[in-house]
Subunit: 351 residues, 4 copies
């Protein structure tokens, strides 16, 4: 089969690779019908994720068709259309059973799994992929949901919803500020209404992203380059600050910004992948009754989000800006790498 | 001033009455700008609520303007536009402090308050009304919210949301069945989206109410007169039954219906005012992991709902079908008494 | 091997039976070191559970040693001391993943599993037993916990804790009334302190059981045969009624009793297995802000309860009153069948 | 009357002062029967709390007898024995109604109240004290609870329970590490059992405090001066780390320590009053699914804790180490200032 293979920092190619085969009775083999590229794929290509070794097929998001299942698999059958979750989980370890499958302890050639596709084992940017623990890592798709909508349920929508909205404890009537309007920030904005957010404020430096944020559900857009960005936020909240501040960038400056705009009693939900420590202003916040959460996506909300998409209560379409064929995967990477410049968000790749 | 006065079963008139005055330092006097009629006003007129004695001014819903405040009142000031909550609460007793102000223990000429307006003390179907415990029983209105929208926040929207949606524990992705499509049932339907309901099924005997239900947010309407009503519901839920069944009628038959359609693990939220006991099928349900809740409205969600209305996330306008002046209050009662026949829901009365 | 075999209503014997063998890759074979008898075993022997067919080995509680595991099993290994949970669950179906494994949909020769041991497949009153889905149905025992303590974690303690305490939403400071002081009621009493219950009132007709209840944690015992039983309860709660009423009998009269003593805002948690419907006094309770829950045990608390036993925060020893060898299983049944008369609670059976 | 008066940094005296009088209809005057000294009183005396101006009577904890009430006061009456809460709250502002009375917005000569006694208005280290908003700031004492037990409900027990246990989200079976074994850390240890903590690990540099911690409920004591303190903690948790780490000191080093021992999925609950910012290791913790909370005490748990003390489920006596008369208040301060050296915890002062 053909696949997008990592050969070391800065080096990838579209290669002929052997077809995957069943290894464990809990495995499934899935034909990839749609896949996409994630920001972490770019991190891998920069050499920032040393666990990814040369020869690895990249990609951890897909919609596909089940080709083969191991003898223990009962939830999916050959021929089923499925979402491949970005998180693989055994369903039986301590972490899986306590709702934290991103920290799954199952052994798949590494100490613990969670995110392994295109990371510790071969991934989804290929014609076929082996999925360990298929029963708890694949979701059957109903007929009415398109591949384009479903592909966003592999990673980005659960990420935005679980880490930003659910762990941010958004509740009806809340004012939510989302710092960073990249794909994940927009996924927070798109799903904040599922817990009845009244005001959703998008904060970013890029006016075009702020405009897009309002298309997917933001009620206000504030440019953090403005001198009075904080006053603008406070003006929308009677001076109190926001109920929930979602950090969707991953640098100390944006985490600091969240500390500046959260109201007493509020929540800062961190989604950003941070490379360095940040300052926590306990000298001020110790008395502010705030909560800070950090989290990997667990994709425990995938089945639920699928219901809301199937019921047309959530429309992820505006998050998709470009489409390519699998054979054009290298071009797709080029476009995604210049996402800011081009105005790209999620790029869909189909055979 | 003029007011609608109860004179005993079947007997009401539009009378000249003395203006209300401050009695306690926690009181306020409010000029009524908009009021409405509730189903319980009709119950009173039938003589079903013996605590209401002849001479009582009826009505427990209003939007108005503060004319005067007692010396302890700090949350509202003369000239403020306010919502009068249908629940009066002291804010300091055991029940108020545990989130159950409908069971408020404060003494206002009766053992406990809660619903007292137009019940134990004079109400809102008048030019002016005295509001005890104004700080915790009035809500200041922002400029952008009209009287017509705000009047529904006095009672019906908090009732539908608190008892049906919140105590029904509606959560994102849920299927909610609302049995009864009268004003309160429709308020449940209108607010179920605040917790991300995916499917909202309205169940009623009246096709015109089912049509209206779909206007305010129902995704399906099922006529409970159909022989296969239950099969229709199950077909929408892969055979499991609904996550939440809301009883918004108040008779044994509809409570039974809820027991027939709730899924294992689901919730039956009772809003209906029942006059007789019902059968509870514990011989079947003991093993079904279900929850049943009963409740008076506490109006603890009023401030939150006001934010969602102000942010245009909730539009209560379709619930209002008729408008009258205060002087036409008797006609308004006639129309409301024939609501089913005429297709009336909420009737707004303004000076 | 030897086993206790059901041969039809009223007919059981201690027979030679074939050793169990692995059937699925997710199975384990466990040597039974300790088992016990449950009230439902007596129901089966009366012929009340028609799903149990002649030839079935009874019993669904055990502590044992793993003899053999299927190739997919990873959480337990040969030689491990384990608790056999009364609930078998696949860990991957909709119900297992939503915290309701008692409604597990996995197919084990029946539509759905949950309680299958000694019911739909052979059980634990034998020298060996096959356990399906071993990864999610067995719990490894730390050295410091005795078989006698652990056997109560198979069923009775999770049942009392999950259905009575957790679904009764006991919270610190609460007054809890437990109606029925049989083994399960006592398990509620023994575990109510895990959520900080301040007062735990045991209600029963049998003075000796009331005395025992106080040994395991009840702060008061009230005889429901007393004319003034209700006044006695109210006197302990300043007249309000109890925060949580747990029904641990299973007849209409005791469910009625719970409705009579629950405070406004309180919870009735039903554990009892009911054979007939009950009256629900909605004509009074519709306005009392109460919650009623029903539930099968899910044994999702087993691992947690094991920690509290290991830490000596929970001592289940007083619940065990008699001990027999496996060969004396028929005698043990006789004693347990006359539990009320003899003062027996849980009877431990060891080889 | 006599009172302990602050005259500027390092300067206090036992002075004759005018008796307090009712100012607002919501006030009460309370005769102080028992009071105590808090660490924040020492901070004030160092000049660290500039809002406290010379001439202020210190103290925010008391048990007393109501001498006089304003005309709006209904929850307490002349002659009642009461606990004076360290938090004064109006009960009606946004923050009070959302469960955050520590941020109460009521105006009592300052922008917002909360902690005002012995801070913004005269306090409890006196023969009498004026209590604003008496209905929501005083708690009637049942006969069976002694002054010595009740005085700890003014501040220290709600502080430990609310900020450490409740916001730390301690749940049955958890392992809780409490960093710092001063009075507040010990209050966390004493109340962690109300949510069923299985292991409670006290961490401190002082062996005598670690010993005391075990008297009030700790199951292990670890000296943070030991080189292998972290390994000792991990050994108690199968290598995972603790479920809840409570910071009860208030310096960057101890906050860092909490970050080092919390398990994935765990909570860090900060009680410490911090004077400088701390490092937050997001470069590691962003993926650890942790929650950090900060908080002022709200004393919303006072009534509940009083029930547990009255029911003898919580015994605060071991936290009291010294007793003085009110006339010896200056000596009491001397002893408390040398608490570490002397082994003093809470010092009770009675007339």
């Amino acid at each position: 089969m053909k696949a997008l293979v990592y050969h070391g920092p800065g080096d990838k190619s579209w290669d002929e690779m052997p077809d995957p085969t069943l290894v464990a009775p809990t495995d499934a083999i899935v034909q990839v019908d749609t896949t996409t590229i994630c920001g972490s794929d770019l991190h891998i290509l920069k050499g920032d994720v040393p666990a990814v070794t040369p020869g690895r097929i990249l990609g951890h998001e897909a919609v596909g068709t089940v080709l083969e299942v191991g003898e223990s698999v009962t939830n999916v059958a050959v021929g089923d259309r499925v979402i491949v979750s970005c998180i693989s989980s055994c369903g039986t370890c301590t972490y899986c059973r306590s709702g934290n499958p991103s920290h799954c302890l199952a052994d798949e050639g590494a100490s613990g799994i969670g995110w392994i596709l295109g990371h510790l084992i071969d991934g989804t940017q290929a014609e076929k992929v082996r999925i360990p623990f298929a029963d708890t890592s694949l979701y059957t798709l109903p007929d009415g949901v398109s591949d384009s909508a479903a592909i966003l349920l592999s990673d980005i929508l659960p990420t935005g919803f679980e880490i930003g909205v659910r762990y941010g404890r958004v509740k009806p009537g809340d004012t939510v500020a989302v710092v960073g309007a990249g794909p994940v920030g927009l996924a927070v904005i798109a799903t904040a209404g599922l817990y009845g957010a009244a005001q959703i404020i998008s904060i970013d430096l890029d006016p075009s992203r702020l405009a897009l944020a309002q298309e997917v559900g933001a009620t206000a857009g504030i440019n953090s380059g403005d001198d009075d960005w904080k006053e603008q936020v406070l003006a929308l909240t009677d001076g109190y600050g926001v109920d929930v501040a979602v950090e969707a960038v991953g640098i100390p400056a944006t985490f600091e910004l969240c500390q500046n705009l959260v109201a007493a009693g509020g929540v800062i939900a961190n989604i950003g992948v941070h490379g360095v420590k940040a300052d926590l202003h306990l000298e001020r916040l110790w008395s502010h009754n705030i909560t800070i959460t950090t989290r990997l996506v667990d994709t425990v909300s995938t089945a639920m989000l699928l219901k809301t998409v199937a019921a047309a209560k959530l429309d992820p379409a505006p998050l998709i800006t470009h489409r390519f064929s699998l054979a054009e995967a290298l071009t797709a990477y080029d476009v995604f790498a210049r996402a800011g410049e081009i105005g790209a968000l999620k790029i869909i790749i189909t055979p």
